[in-house]
């Protein structure tokens, strides 16, 4: 794969600069995750010392799942905006007139969304564990402090963000409207949470090997989503804004 990392870096830097200047994105990236931290904290901190183990298990499971909603949902909104948003503000055509390749653009936009989302998620996971260590009952601490569960949280966060971002990019490359893209992006990003749910709720017994196996499954899904996003990215369609018939005698030039 031909990849010029300086172009990827340029896209990442530009995206991050744009986020910083956009209050809506800052709010989305700051407030929504806070909600997904506060809700599970309330759930586990209200578990009493005398609560049955099934209650503790489900409270911890729900809390850990809540934390994984952050990488699955937050970046999808931003990713879903990224291509159709460029088109809406008229910046897509100048961007595509440069030597940037599709993969470089996709990777740059992906990283610019995945990295902050994962950083936020890891920070909140850390806050979550520190808080329960200080304020939760011993039963909750024991239920949450299991290596496979912590590993699953750390492993699944970037993989869920990857799925969410790549599928968001695919939708963004095909949508004609920013709002539709963002709604669809959020909707499509959530079903994948079914996989980690099995571990966080301990439907499947949490073990290091299981966490890695599920991680590998998510990685495969991410790879498929990356390829799907690449296939959805058609510069001609994006510029013309309408589907183009495949009646042309020549393929679009290399990207």
């Amino acid at each position: 794969m031909n990849l010029d990392l300086s172009r990827v870096r340029a896209v990442v830097r530009k995206e991050l600069r744009e986020y910083r200047r956009n209050r809506l994105i800052i709010l989305t990236m700051a407030l929504v995750p806070l909600i997904f931290l506060i809700a599970p904290l309330i759930t586990v901190l209200t578990v009493t010392a005398t609560a049955p183990s099934s209650t503790v298990k489900s409270a911890v499971g729900a809390a850990l799942l809540f934390l994984l909603v952050i990488p699955a949902s937050v970046p999808s909104v931003i990713a879903a905006y990224s291509v159709v948003g460029e088109r809406d503000q008229g910046t897509l055509e100048p961007l595509l007139t440069t030597p940037i390749r599709r993969t470089e653009l996709q990777l740059g936009k992906g990283l610019a969304t995945i990295v902050p989302s994962v950083a936020i998620t890891y920070s909140l996971i850390a806050i979550f564990y520190i808080t329960i260590h200080i304020a939760a009952t011993q039963a909750v601490i024991s239920a949450a402090w299991q290596v496979p569960l912590v590993l699953a949280e750390l492993l699944f966060a970037p993989l869920l963000a990857g799925w969410s971002v790549f599928i968001g990019l695919a939708i963004s490359a095909r949508a004609n409207d920013v709002r539709v893209a963002q709604q669809l992006g959020t909707l499509v990003s959530l079903p994948i949470l079914a996989l980690p749910t099995l571990i966080t709720f301990q439907v499947i017994h949490p073990a290091v090997l299981t966490a890695f196996a599920f991680g590998a499954g998510l990685l495969l899904i991410d790879t498929a989503a990356w390829q799907f996003a690449a296939r959805m990215f058609n510069p001609e369609r994006l510029i013309l804004g309408t589907p183009t018939k495949r009646a042309t005698t020549r393929a679009p030039s290399a990207r």
């Binding site: 010029d4 300086s6 172009r7 870096r9 340029a10 896209v11 830097r13 530009k14 600069r17 744009e18 200047r21 956009n22 503000q89 008229g90 910046t91 897509l92 055509e93 100048p94 961007l95 595509l96 007139t97 440069t98 030597p99 940037i100 390749r101 510069p235 001609e236 510029i239 013309l240 183009t244 018939k245 009646a247 042309t248 005698t249 020549r250 393929a251 679009p252 030039s253 290399a254 990207r255």
Partner: protein, 321 residues
Amino acid sequence: MSTACDDGGGAAIVVDGLSKRFGDRVAVDGVSFTVAYGEVFGFLGPNGAGKTTTVRMLGTLIAATAGSAVIAGVRLGAETGVEVRRRISIMPETPGLYQRLTVRENLEFFAGLYGVRDSQPRIARALEAVGLQERAGDPCQSLSKGLRQRAALARALINDPRILFLDEPTSGLDPVAAREVHVLIDRLRDRGVTIFLTTHRLEEAERLCDRVAILNTTLRTIGRPDELKRKLFQTELLVRTVAPLADPERLLGHLPGVRRWQVQDATAYLLDATDPVGVAPIVSRAIIESGADLVSIGEARHSLEDVYLELVDEDVEAGRP
């Protein structure tokens, strides 16, 4: 190596039979032309004539349905898009700047995309070229339309392109801002940049372009503005008198060398002459001998607009799109 290098016979752009269809609609049909290095080439045509589509094909943004082209020595093809885009720059009709970023940040981004090492001196030169040094730190959303257009032009210069495509660069600008863009284009010409200018502002094309092509899906004509005017209107003489001629048909209709004549306004007559220089003395003598007072006689001056309207009107009459 997949990059199909081709010197294009030393030309900046060689286009041969380029066509583009969108479903059943033909946007561009069998267009061929050549642009030399250092030339300012005007691409004129009414709305929907296929100008922007042609630019997008040449800029590798959309694929041609048929035909071929060599851009800055690289043959257009499925594998050569990156190489072509590296050598050219396109300024689309709308500036397309990131509104929340400053002018400098926009330029830094594009310098990064073009792989410009040590970009700051290049950015400074681009800003200087368009006179935007003082506003470099301003967010683009705070700029006027004219300044945004200048910022977009600076962006288009960031890679020192061998060919610069300007798509309607003065569209929507007031006369002062449009004039500023004209001055910038003049400066770029002086620097030897090849400029491919699409416009429907004919006075702009006439003022700036070495050669122009008129497109209306097909290429209708191509040449230097004065050549085109001569080609279409070379045999016309404009005669002005103090008062209307009493019987112009009897006076002008039978003069040797005058094929047809028509009234242009009350005291002006347009003569279709085989040899305007030879016929002018005969016409002037005939008018004076008839007792009329002659104000002036000379070759009819036509603007590029006349050429354009003549060709576009022909298309309308012929039922062409």
